[in-house]
Amino acid sequence: MQQILPYIINGISVGGQYALIAIGYTLVYGILRLINFAHGDVFMVAGLVMVYATTALPFYVALPLVLAATVLLGFTIERVAYKPLRTAPRMSVMISAIGVSYLIQNLAFYITGGVPQPVTRPIPWISENVIILGASTKRVTLVTPILTILLVVVLVYLINHTKIGMAMRAAAKDFETAQLMGIKINAVISMTFVIGSFLAAVGSMLYFTNYPSVAITSGGMPGLKAFVAAVFGGIGSIPGAVVGAFIIGLCEELIKGAGYTTFSDAFTFAILIVVLCVKPTGLFGEKVTDKV
């Protein structure tokens, strides 16, 4: 127990960070039926902005700046790359998403010079070491799951009890009818991207506190894993994404604990394929039937 305990704690923490990214995927997919391949890169940009902002500015300015910049990025991506393709086939939008991901990575390469940017000033308090049940870890491992749950509760409240939340649910149910009922569909879609990017920025700040540096490829894997989590939980469902993310985070860390680090990524994709073949709707997803 003593040996696997640190892995379990880490797993829950990583799971929380995946959950924050996965929500962005699940919200966007729920409404646009689009795998936002660029979401992982938005997450990476948030990490880069954090590195740059915290070295130059005090924390009470830098952290809100990270949130604002990431939200702006998500909003811009939607307006520039996805909105013009609203009536195009789904494949074009997905290609556009891949293009955006490619663009962000190349721009980041240009700006950073391809060198991983070291996290020189990690956020204080949460990056301090604490000892729980005999295992030493950073405080962020404890903060992450709590913060994640808190944000998810707020988000679920927002979606179930506010006007914009109702509009989002309507758009997810039936895009065109929602439009006919007078819902400003573009505002709703922008809102989903804003929420998704905001949560990704929070996830990014927590995630990179645990890592020594931010590289331009740091976003790819967490992004894909978070997407797998969203599929696992049932894409379109927020509680599903969160539960899926925690399960995947835990499994991954336990596999690392068992000494098969090479396979920790592969295992996530194995889960994905099994889920897609056995129960494509995921744990909490609704069944969708295709009409001719």
Binding site: M91, G99, Y110, T262, I273, L276, C277, D290
Partner: protein, 370 residues
């Protein structure tokens, strides 16, 4: 002369001129010259892009597993062709590796040096293709039942799983773990690449113009209607997937040949994205487009736009702006512009012989205008 006959002659003439140009380049320039390098890399990319187009553009199956199949082909080629006496050096951490033979050396035994080693190398490429096709068959069993974006993400996942396996130390005696494979024989001139890839692409073109190809296109345009017309969806999808992977495997082997050393690391999803974007630039559903786009892409990224990365471009010297990475940044902006505003790409769904039609149609339009 009929139009079809004209088109055939036109196509044959263009291809002959291109091949002749390639032979001339090979004779005049040393094999390390940038022109030769560009031709080699671009032909390899052409083959892989066309194989991806067969799946994504002609059958409408959005698969992102290309890098995984290329990885299989590349490793099969390298593992089977490293000379026996060089194996201890390559597999230094794994006791000289598990395989104690090399295909080219087996054939040189009774066919002479040049012929034998060429046959051995081609056979190794073929083995790579067959392995990739087999793997595609296995992967296809569960995956091909999925629709559009789920298919994309599942194939992407399989490619990542494959990569993890190849880096696994337990398979080290064969794959050399995460270390480089090197010292295998390669073609130093560009012409063999062009002929090889050209043949493969020709086979794909023949396939697309056959009944199977028509069935693929029918599936792409409307699955339900195609099924109603009596096309066996599962069978044809599986076939397209296996054939595309076979050629991706061969392309991977040629990639290994071109690069000289390989490891599993470059065969990431980024490689698949790159090839997908080439297909998009060329036009989804056009073989000619994919080939042209590959050459344009490789030519500009390897040669024409080099200056964007190293300080001077078009005579403008600005090391502050033209530094490492600027080339790819410019490139990705161009790609986004194509994706957003020129969705048809360079060729749309037209092929090389269709270029002759253009004039004819213009004349017709003028006549109608009068």
């Amino acid at each position: 002369m009929t139009m079809t006959k004209k088109k055939t002659i036109f196509t044959a003439a263009v291809l002959a001129v291109l091949l002749a140009a390639c032979v001339v380049v090979d004779m005049l320039l040393p094999s390390y010259h940038i022109a030769v390098v560009v031709i080699k890399k671009a032909t390899v990319y052409s083959l892989v892009a066309v194989s991806m187009n067969l799946l994504n553009g002609f059958t409408g199956l959005f698969s992102l597993g290309q890098a995984g199949f290329m990885l299989l082909g590349a490793y099969a080629y390298a593992v089977l062709t490293i000379p026996v006496d060089k194996r201890p050096g390559v597999y230094q951490y794994f006791d000289g590796g598990a395989l104690k033979f090399s295909l080219p050396e087996i054939f040189t035994g009774f066919m002479g040096d040049t012929v034998g080693s060429t046959v051995g190398m081609l056979l190794a490429l073929l083995v790579g293709g067959v392995l990739a096709a087999l793997m595609a068959y296995l992967i296809g069993l569960p995956v091909l039942r999925l629709k559009s974006d789920y298919l994309a993400i599942a194939t992407l996942g399989f490619a990542e799983i494959l990569r993890a396996f190849f880096q696994w130390n337990a398979l080290g005696p064969i794959t050399n773990g995460s270390n480089l494979l090197k010292s295998y024989p390669t073609f130093s001139h560009a012409t063999p690449y062009v002929i090889l890839a050209g043949l493969m692409i020709a086979i794909i073109v023949l396939l697309i113009n056959s009944t199977y190809g028509r069935a693929f296109k029918a599936i792409r345009d409307d699955e339900v209607a195609a099924e109603a017309m009596g096309i066996n969806l599962a069978k044809h999808k599986r076939m397209a997937f296996i054939i595309s992977s076979f050629f991706a495997g061969i392309g991977g082997g040629m990639m290994a040949m071109y690069m000289g050393t390989i490891a599993a690391a470059p065969f990431k999803s980024t490689l698949t994205y790159e090839i997908l974007l080439i297909v998009v630039i060329g036009g989804i559903g056009s073989i000619t487009g994919s080939v042209i786009a590959s050459f344009l892409y490789i030519f500009s990224s390897e040669w024409l736009l080099r200056g964007l990365d190293s300080g001077t471009f078009l005579g403008i010297n600005a090391p502050g702006i033209f530094k490492n990475g600027f080339r790819m940044a410019v490139f990705s902006v161009i790609i986004m512009v194509i994706v957003l505003f020129f969705r048809k790409g360079i060729m749309g769904d037209k092929e090389l012989p269709d270029l002759l039609d253009k004039k004819a149609r213009k004349r017709k339009k003028e006549a109608a205008g009068k």
